[in-house]
């Protein structure tokens, strides 16, 4: 049983570090959002699974389950509203061949 906890904790740490690295090195908003939403959600969910396994079957498990459910719903919605915010601000997605065109807000800052 302990090895499951260790395994999920290890997965959580690895996904978290790679997600942060992706957010740092990717070229534009949408690709950064890809790294952040996928990797960070998976890492936090694995930490929750590890915590549920470590706590055993008690009131703790139920409450962590509620938190995980809420996070499972709210994280993709948060990613979607950030993406729609950027899409409505008319930030042009980065392409492999062409360069990006600077938007109004980027020029101002």
């Amino acid at each position: 049983m302990e090895w499951i906890v260790y395994g999920f904790l290890f997965l959580g740490v690895v996904f978290n570090l790679i997600g942060n690295l992706g957010v740092l090195i990717f070229p534009d908003v949408y690709t950064r959002l890809q790294a952040s939403s996928t990797c960070t959600t998976t890492s936090v969910i694995s930490v929750f699974i590890a915590a549920m396994t470590a706590a055993g079957l008690s009131a703790v498990t139920g409450k962590i389950f509620v938190i995980a459910l809420f996070f499972f719903v709210s994280s993709p919605v948060a990613a979607h509203i950030i993406a729609r915010y950027a899409w409505n601000k008319e930030i042009i997605p980065w392409r492999r061949t062409g360069g990006t065109v600077k938007t109004e807000e980027e020029k101002n800052e």
Partner: protein, 137 residues
């Protein structure tokens, strides 16, 4: 067919649970972290979530402005009444006069539970009112 909006559907399914969680924080305020003020703020945040996702009109139909306004005033009045009832029956202002049960149970707190409910009503209605007036523009 009406347009599908993600925020609309999500806020509709999520807001009742947030309101219930605020009620839970108020009720269990003496056993776990939470209490009247925090529970009231969570209640208000449920209304704010609806306000942000659905627009003012539908929320005003659910929580009409005069009702929220009078609930806020009623909360203040009830708090004062509770305090002076403590003066009348027990020792001083806000002192306990209800029977106290065993420690660690929900209804065993006597006075505190009702006081938390009143404070939660007052704070939730107050912050909801602030957000209504600000959002009306």
């Amino acid at each position: 067919m009406k347009k599908t909006d993600i925020l609309d559907v999500i806020s509709r399914k999520l807001a009742p649970f947030i309101l219930l969680f605020g009620m839970y924080l108020i009720t269990y305020g003496h056993l776990s972290p939470g209490g009247g003020f925090q529970g009231g703020v969570v209640l208000a945040s449920g209304v704010v979530l609806l306000l942000l996702c659905q627009g003012t009109d539908r929320v005003q139909k659910l929580f009409p402005l005069p009702v929220v306004n009078s609930a806020e005033a009623l909360g203040f009045l009830a708090f004062l009444l509770m305090g002076f009832a403590g003066v009348l029956f027990g020792g001083g202002f806000l002192s306990n006069f209800l029977p106290v049960g065993k420690a660690g149970e929900v209804p065993g707190a006597g006075f505190i539970l009702i006081l938390n409910l009143v404070v939660g009503l007052k704070v939730g209605a107050g912050i909801t009112l602030i957000c209504f007036y600000l959002f009306k523009e």
